[in-house]
Symmetry: C3
Subunit: 275 residues, 3 copies
């Protein structure tokens, strides 16, 4: 993983607002900021690693009562993984496994976080952006937000650990509508289809988020952690086997994946051959 995330001598500084992922603090609340606005917060491998370290560190803080996950971009929560990195970091099954491990450890860290997680979504929330949001306990979004995962156009597969939280939210029919047709839902549809907690006008977004956080932090903190733990326990399905998990990376050795990514980068329509 060193090529993806060079280890530094010291521990990372999560408060550095020049970083593409950083943390702000305000009493019992930490805010985890996706901060790569020039790329609409497309998630690089470096950002995945940093997200993993940040959420893992925050999860250990006993005094935290709420974590807000938001974006520094006015246009997007995140459009998903940075496809421009795929040729270097995700171009065959073995690389797919490595990159997948990084994503899936990060998503698992979000899912295992004992602290209430609120996602504030104002704009594009697609692919891995939606996957991160789906591991949060609240998805509060503005009316202009958009949701989907049109990775069928890349020849790319959503692996079990990415599918599971979406299925728990929205059920198989909504997830397959999104994946098979490649539909992008507007905010009202996302609410109707149980993908988001609520939709508010953009100008009311931060007020609504603050109300929710206020409701959370005034509650008994241990009760919040118990409730998260108990709900997680009841909805956990039987685990997939290692062999089942490994099949999630077969797509990276297909011709269609290579031509799909190329078409995306060339801004041409993909042509798939089923190979």
């Amino acid at each position: 993983m060193s090529a993806i995330f060079p280890t530094s001598s010291g521990s990372p500084s999560f408060e550095d607002e020049g970083e593409p992922v950083y943390i702000q603090r305000n009493d019992h609340v930490a805010t985890l900021v996706l901060n790569r606005p020039a790329k609409l917060n497309a998630i690089s491998a470096y950002m995945w690693k940093r997200l993993h370290l940040a959420i893992s560190a925050l999860s250990k803080e006993d005094s935290l009562r709420c974590i807000l996950v938001k974006s520094s971009s006015a246009k997007a929560f995140s459009p998903g993984c940075d496809i421009h990195e795929f040729e270097e970091l995700r171009s065959n099954k073995e690389q797919g496994r490595q990159y997948g491990r990084l994503m899936h450890e990060t998503l698992a860290a979000f899912q295992n976080c004992p602290i209430p997680l609120v996602a504030e979504i104002d704009g594009i929330c697609v692919g891995a952006g939606l996957e991160i949001a789906s591991t949060c306990d609240f998805r509060i979004c503005s009316e202009k937000s958009r949701f989907g995962a049109p990775i069928k156009n890349l020849g790319l597969v959503m692996a079990y650990p990415e599918l599971e939280p979406l299925l728990q939210l929205a059920g198989k029919d909504v997830v397959l509508e999104m994946l098979l047709e490649g539909r992008i839902f507007n905010a009202a549809e996302a609410y109707e289809k149980n993908l988001v907690t609520c939709v508010v006008p953009t100008e009311r977004l931060s007020v609504k988020v603050n109300d929710t956080i206020s409701g959370i932090v005034t509650g008994a903190p241990l009760v919040a952690r118990w409730h998260k733990k108990f709900v997680k326990r009841l909805i956990t399905p039987s685990a997939v086997t290692p062999a089942e998990y490994d099949e999630c990376f077969d797509c990276f050795d297909t011709e269609d994946f290579r031509s799909g990514c190329q078409a995306f980068l060339n801004r041409t329509p993909p042509r798939f051959r089923g190979k």
Copy 2:
């Protein structure tokens, strides 16, 4: 349990309309009435015991085709457990376990009832009131009804047997929104979030309930029982272990639970310390 519900020499009379839980009968339909209007139907330990006996007795009646669960109050189905009893009956983990066993046996008796259950909800339906309603097959409510479980303000935890039927209805996101933020949903929101079967104007509530009951009782009774049994079989998740179950009562030994209940009784805002 004798302190909670003194055993009498004979079997209880469920037809006594002076009791806080009683049964009315009309041919193939029994109506189970929550009848403590002076307290908006706050459920006492005595009422839990009586509910348990009543639903258990009704469940054995082969000729019954439908059970209606309703309230004698024009303001509430039920606001939940009677918090005024907690100091005496639910003030530490051991008491929490005993009171919990009473609640959970009652909820299990509702869940195991082979007869179609219709809840008529006209007003507040909160906490244990919502838990009872969630074990019914239909939740028909008036527009003025309200739903939630703001027990985070009490330092109190919803145990596995209480969570499970709510999760089966509304999914993890809705349940956590309710528990973590403490939100109270109005009737339209409760319908959007799959907490209720339908919403009607108050003046049409009894007509709608009667239509539903009529649809049920004109059907083949064995078919109704098979359908309930088969659906229950398919949605039952793996059972929690005894140790997992016991953790549901840890909250009763927390400072936050004691101060939360005190704040409720004093009508002051709770201040929680996470202990």
Copy 3:
């Protein structure tokens, strides 16, 4: 099964548009047509057998990217099984088992189909019609469509393999509302209750269906198959036992089933005795 479906010497011709189930082809898309408009597409045992053979054959075609399931009737997708056949083919438990095996093998073949399935619904979609639609990945319906399964009026039970896909779509409360009360949902209610993917005006139905198919077939075909496989893997509950399965056919030996079917055929209200 020979009484139900006489074997012919050759393989069936699925392209024969005089048959009550036939297949049209257009490049990567196959259309499976229910074609018994004189009976509103009531499904005969012969149609079940033909559906089973057709979907099984299509499932093996590697070059297919989408299967559209539709009706040749302007009034109905299907009102369910042809009740006029029940006296001859489904009049006791042993016959119920045989007919059930035919239905359940067919529904399983739909559920196991690796190719995206789109149901186009324009009118009545009830009973087994709804069951078939529920095994598809998309249910695109017109505003005039109607959904339900009022088999309580027949004394007939929906077996585990028929219930499971409906539960996965819509949850226990919606399924029990439909089965216990016998409610028929209009298209808007069916959308609110997660029974259908979307609702469009009748005149826009084929345009919407074509848009969805276009979204599917332009995607990477292997990705579509992986996504279907992975979602299916994550939502599969523990299997019912053979003894549990067999109980699904007890209804065929009840008096209520016989009198319910008779009442249907006589157009008189059923009177059930719970036997």
